[in-house]
């Protein structure tokens, strides 16, 4: 049994994915199956397993390591998953999405993400990347009748496949210099190479791996797919992938770049610095002119990727812990905001244009209030989760003397406040025509309550989560 301990959370989620598939197969046409419930069981099981495995540092097969770092990401992914399941229960029905496929793919994607965070071998990371990517490609185009969805899925698939090729090529070069794809072996080979100029092959490996990760976290200039994919996908899928994929990709990014590739940091830090600055600036500046909420939040997610990159560029313990905290803070805030957009939409009227939100405060004061809380958290206002996240990330940057990056970061977050406030202005300060908006089901209300509690908890009493994040990075050297 012992060699399998590290994969228990992953297996739990996979089993629940299989359960949804079987349920779909056994379902009579028109019958409603509580598939979200299967997902919840699997995710809660995975979360409980992750909590119990804390500090155990279990390893399986030499390539999967459930250290605290992976477990922290597991918890983030379980939060993402649980919120998605609770929101989806009604939305899948309302939008006529094929429920079996939807839940199975979402859960498989989550298991891939968990594997990605725990993998200590480049090939396993690649495997996990493909599990999650393929699931998310299909989810993006799951509205088969929608032309925009098909276009989005196709774009996402083509560019994603391209980036996978880059990544794999990088793995090949890494193997060439060290004779192994295991992260620790690669680290040993690179650090024993001495202080002289690194080999060309090592640089190629770093560059190609960076391109692969930059695609997945949608960093400039590899962000092109993001707005289209986010806009074309069903809103709930956008909510899921903007938070889940980001968490998994950043986890692997940190694990690969801040451990085995750290000896080459003099080479990659300048590159990532430029990428981080460009990502923050482009994400916010282009976000300002968007009129579609999903596109706007897509650019905001690009900007947030830029902030997260600061944590990697810092190459310190503060930076790593800040990335972990930020991923959690971003997950609850962004899922909350996009969840509300998804809840307001119907299959006839997606409710994702800026003007759709006009007068929301009059007709739905509660939803408007919560939306404001999530948007202000994304904008980094105290006392909300996003503020602590940003403060933590900028602390990491300043600690290493990256004052300019921190200044770009804070100024772009002021710009981002402008477009978050555009939604607030619409909701509170613009009279709107009354449009029929569906009511909020109980499960979704629970999800909103959970996300709101998370946003305030992380914003007002963050000490405990910060301590956990700091305790999670010991195994990432």
């Amino acid at each position: 049994m012992t060699p399998y301990i590290a994969i228990i959370p992953i297996v739990a989620v996979m089993l629940s994915a299989c359960a949804s598939m079987i349920a779909e197969a056994l379902r009579h046409p028109g019958e409603r199956m509580p598939m979200a419930f299967f997902g919840l069981i699997g995710l809660v099981g995975a979360a409980v397993a992750s909590v119990l495995m804390w500090d155990a540092d279990a390893q399986s097969f030499g390539v999967v390591r459930s250290d605290n770092f992976a477990l922290f990401i597991n918890i983030v992914l379980c939060v993402v998953g649980v919120l998605t399941m609770l929101f989806s229960d009604e939305i899948v029905e309302r939008e006529n999405l094929p429920s079996g496929e939807y839940y199975a793919l979402t859960l498989f994607a989550i298991s891939g993400m968990m594997l990605m965070a725990a993998a200590t071998d480049l090939l396993v990371i690649f495997l996990a990347l493909e599990i999650l990517s393929l699931s998310v490609y299909v989810l993006t185009g799951i509205r088969r009748a929608s032309a925009a969805g098909a276009e989005a899925a196709f774009k996402y698939f083509l560019l994603g496949a391209f980036s996978s090729a880059f990544f794999l090529y990088g793995v090949a070069f890494a193997f060439a210099i060290s004779g192994s794809t295991r992260l620790d072996e690669i680290g040993k080979a690179l650090s024993s190479a001495g202080t002289g100029a690194p080999e060309t092959m090592a640089l190629l490996a770093v560059g190609l791996l960076a391109v692969g990760f930059a695609f997945k976290v949608s960093a400039v200039p590899f962000h092109m797919w993001t707005p289209d994919a986010y806009e074309g996908a069903p809103t709930i899928v956008t909510a899921f992938m903007s938070t889940g994929v980001k968490a998994a990709a950043f986890a692997a990014f940190v694990r690969v770049f801040l451990a085995p590739l750290e000896p080459l940091k003099d080479q990659w830090i300048p590159v990532l610095t430029v990428i981080a600055a460009a990502t923050m600036i482009l994400g916010t500046v282009v976000g300002v002119v968007q009129t579609n909420i999903k596109r706007m939040l897509a650019y905001s997610s690009i900007a947030h990727a830029g902030y997260l990159l600061l944590g990697i560029v810092a190459t310190t313990d503060t930076g790593k812990a800040a990335v972990l905290f930020y991923l959690l803070a971003y997950a609850v805030s962004n899922l909350g905001a996009l969840g509300i957009v998804a809840l307001l939409g119907t299959s006839q009227h997606p409710h994702d244009e800026l003007r759709d939100f006009a007068g929301l405060w009059r007709s739905r004061p509660g939803l408007a209030g919560l939306m404001t809380v999530f948007l202000l958290s994304l904008g980094g206002f105290p006392p909300l989760a996003g503020f602590i996240g940003k403060w933590y990330i900028f602390s990491a940057a300043v600690e290493r003397g990256h004052y300019w990056l921190a200044i770009i970061g804070v100024l772009t977050s002021v710009v981002s406040v402008f477009f978050y406030l555009r939604i607030v202005v619409m909701m509170y300060m613009t009279e709107g025509t009354e449009i029929a908006r569906p009511r909020v089901p109980l499960a979704a209300a629970a999800a909103l309550a959970l996300a709101t509690a998370g946003v305030f908890y992380l914003g007002i009493l963050p000490a405990r989560i910060i301590d956990l994040a700091r305790a999670s990075i010991a195994t990432i050297l």
Partner: protein, 537 residues
């Protein structure tokens, strides 16, 4: 516990008001919501008065200190306390909030529960700013304060409210985020020297920085505060925000929010970076004097009453910054006094303008005229508030401006001479405005103007009473602040013996013969103190 209670009470009241308002628009619940909000704010005011009563005016240190770990990993604490500088500003906040709520009794009917929620939330954040000793906590309150103010302007304001609200929040935030970077930089610099980061203001006083870092940090802090004050040329958000804000918003904005800028300079920017402060003080003073004259001249030609008062704030707060830049006892005491006085008199002016605007739905000076014959009691109150804003001796404004000019003259006579013209100019624009509004023939539209209602009496009488009290008994207010002011001055001037001569305290109003708190300081020409030696390194 008392301070936490004063910060938390408004939050509780805000939530209660929101809950009591019920679902949707419920006009029948309006009186209940208003009663809860006003009751809460009065209880908070009583609590701030209790704080003043229990405050020991002889001490220079923080009192009522509470300290709890918040994020121990970064040395961030929930650390609050009051000293003589913040004490009266807290009382001012407690005083103005009920007035602001009362002033909107008739004019605000749109979602009263949300309005009360934001006003009380704002009060909590403002008091939080004044009591914070931990820099991180201070920044949290400082930034959190923007949100309720944004909604107050954006929802309940006048025609261009959305523009003004967004401009307000972006402008002030742009300044304050750079301060956040500087705060983080300070904490890490402290870690480099002492092994663990801290955001404790008192601990950071002991930190020595390189000259370059000190200058940059000082500039980042000062930019944030200068925008808030607002110091010329960072004042452009103010007229928009003031003109578009509802009366309650304007009263709080002018009465308390602007003081946070000058308070921040005095509490954080100057004592944390004394070296940089002394080298940049002439620049600040110059900008302040430009602001005094410019604000006064622009106020003179405003057709809109609210804009006139807004520009007069630019001018009056220029005096405060001038007094702070002088960094001697008279200058700083005068500056703090002027903060309080300006809060009362400009708050009063905005209340008056709000009453005019409620009656006539216009704020244009040209629309009024001859009010004296129609509403004599109103005009009498208007006159007293106007005179207190002009700084007539015997009223609150005089003490502050006089002390500032005395202090500034000893530091830089030339600047002071120019600044003094602001005193004259303020009489010009205020009296001219008063004349155009209240004298002359009664126009047709003003013939039916109501005189003061009982509610308006309740708003104006305390304001005027405080204005007179501050004018005739300044010692009551100066006494508790003096030890803290002297302490800050010592801290800032510790490294510059050249200015020591300016600091022999001779506050003009004290004959109590208390021992001078500044004995034993090095005289001019003596070698620099230990503090400055460290600084040179």
């Amino acid at each position: 516990m008392l301070l936490s209670l004063i910060v938390l009470l408004p939050v509780v009241g805000a939530v209660l008001a929101l809950v009591a308002g019920g679902r949707g628009e419920r006009p029948d619940r309006e009186p209940l919501v208003r009663a809860i909000a006003l009751g809460t704010s009065l209880v908070v005011f009583a609590a701030t008065l209790f704080l003043w009563w229990r405050f020991d005016p002889a001490l220079a240190d923080y009192q009522f200190v509470e300290k709890r770990a918040w994020m121990p990993a970064f040395g961030i604490e929930y650390h609050v306390g009051v000293d003589g500088i913040s004490l009266l500003l807290i009382v001012l906040t407690g005083f103005l909030t009920p007035l602001a709520l009362l002033s909107s009794w008739e004019s605000v009917h749109k979602s009263v529960k949300a309005f009360s929620f934001f006003v009380l939330g704002l009060e909590a954040a403002m008091i939080g700013v004044f009591v914070s000793i931990d820099l991180f906590l201070f920044y949290v309150f400082w930034d959190a304060m923007l949100i309720p103010m944004y909604f107050l302007i954006g929802i309940w304001g006048y025609e261009r409210r959305v523009y003004a609200a967004v401009k307000f929040i972006l402008y002030t935030m742009a300044g304050s985020v750079l301060m956040l970077v500087a705060i983080i930089g300070l904490a890490w610099a402290y870690k480099e020297a002492n092994g663990a980061p801290t955001f404790n203001l008192l601990a950071l006083h002991g930190l020595t920085l390189t000259d370059q870092m000190e200058s940059w940090f000082f500039l980042a802090f000062t930019l944030a505060f200068a925008i808030k004050v607002p110091l010329f040329p960072f004042h452009t958000w103010l007229p928009d925000a003031h003109v578009e804000a509802p009366t309650a918003g304007s009263v709080i904005l002018a009465g308390v929010l602007l003081k946070m800028g000058t308070y921040g300079l005095l509490r954080f920017a100057f004592p944390l970076f004394p070296g940089a402060a002394s080298s940049f003080a002439p620049v600040l003073a110059f900008l302040a004097v430009v602001g005094i004259v410019y604000g006064a001249l622009v106020a003179m030609v405003q057709p809109d009453l609210k804009k006139l008062v807004a520009y007069s704030s630019v001018s009056h707060l220029g005096f405060v910054v001038l007094g702070l830049s002088a960094m001697n006892v008279q200058g700083v005491q005068g500056a703090v006094y002027q903060m309080l006085a300006h809060g009362v008199s400009t708050g009063g002016l905005f209340l008056i303008v709000g009453m005019l605007s409620d009656r006539r739905h216009t704020r244009l000076i040209s629309e009024f005229g001859g009010l004296k014959g129609v509403a004599p009691r109103f005009v009498a109150a208007f006159l007293l508030v106007t005179l207190s804003s002009i700084a007539l001796p015997g009223l609150n404004g005089f003490v502050g401006e006089f002390l500032i000019l005395v202090g500034a003259f000893r530091w830089s006579p030339r600047l002071t001479v120019i600044a003094a013209t602001g005193v004259i100019l303020s009489a010009v624009y205020m009296l001219w405005m008063f004349q155009r509004v209240n004298y002359g023939p009664v126009t047709e539209k003003n013939r039916d103007m109501k005189d003061l209602t009982p509610r308006e009496w309740a708003v104006l009488v305390p304001t005027i009473a405080i204005a007179i009290l501050m004018g005739v008994a300044p010692g009551l207010f100066l006494k508790p602040m003096e030890p803290s002011v002297v302490k800050v001055i010592d801290r800032v001037n510790g490294s510059q013996p050249a200015r020591v001569e300016n600091r022999e305290p001779r506050p003009f109003d004290r004959a109590q013969g208390r021992p001078e708190p500044v004995e034993g300081r090095p005289a001019a020409g003596e070698p620099p103190t230990a503090n400055s030696e460290q600084r040179v390194r």
